[in-house]
């Protein structure tokens, strides 16, 4: 149990730091959706299926859609990452 929780928390923190440090904006959005996703697994472990479902729907699905659309309008979504 403790190892599962520790693994999820460590991966979540690594993904959160990745969001701030990675240069490519697309990768930042993908990492942010990964944070939401691991958080939703934690919510399910904490016996909160309602919250887990909301986080999965809003944080991992809708939020990344909105961020991706905004990236396209800002013109930051070009494939130029080496």
């Amino acid at each position: 149990m403790i190892w599962v929780v520790a693994l999820i928390v460590i991966m979540m923190l690594v993904a959160a730091v990745t969001v701030l440090l990675v240069r490519n904006h697309i990768a930042a959005v993908a990492a942010a959706s990964l944070v939401s996703l691991l958080l939703s697994v934690l919510f399910a472990l904490l016996r909160a299926p309602d919250v887990a479902m909301t986080e999965a729907a809003v944080g991992a699905g809708l939020s990344s859609v909105i961020l991706a659309l905004a990236l396209r309008r800002l013109g930051l979504g070009r494939v130029k990452d080496a």
Binding site: L13, A16, V19, L39, P49, I66, A70, L74
Partner: protein
């Protein structure tokens, strides 16, 4: 050396998310990154709220037909977090659309550059002399005369 408990790990994760998010808001100069950092800090706060209602050996607060009465986790923080997540996405969408407008008007997303151009615009509209710089010169040198383009 006491063993590390699950609660410590979870609290550390939640506080870590909040701290990483706030560090991102304070330290980064790109508007899009600031919005992403805001999302992360919000996620950490939600995790803290849900943690406050957790109990061992409890089931989810949903009655599933079994007649045996079991202990359940606290439903009140969960309902609060439900509200918080949905409002968070509304705030995020509004912030992104304002970012898009700012980009359309000033063609940059760096907050230092944005502030410079905005203050130049405001000064131009008000007819006052342009502010040369937002910071004091080092070493007590006198301020330069109020000409120049201010950029």
């Amino acid at each position: 050396m006491m063993p590390i408990e699950v609660g410590t790990v979870l609290y550390a994760g939640a506080i870590g998310l909040v701290v990483v998010g706030i560090a991102g808001i304070v330290l980064s100069h790109h508007l899009f990154r600031i919005i992403l950092a805001l999302v992360i800090a919000e996620a950490g706060a939600n995790l803290l709220l849900v943690l406050s209602g957790f109990r061992w050996e409890a089931i989810a607060p949903i009655i599933t037909g079994g007649d045996a009465v079991q202990t359940m986790v606290d439903p009140v923080p969960q309902a609060m977090v439900l509200t918080s997540i949905v409002i968070g996405v509304g705030v995020q969408a509004l912030a992104l659309s304002l970012t898009l407008r700012a980009y359309g008007a000033y063609k940059t997303l760096d907050i230092r550059e944005l502030q410079r151009r905005m203050s130049a615009d405001l000064a131009g509209e008000a007819g006052t002399p342009l502010p040369q710089s937002l910071e004091e010169p080092v070493g007590g040198r006198p301020l330069p005369a109020a000409e120049g383009d201010g950029r």
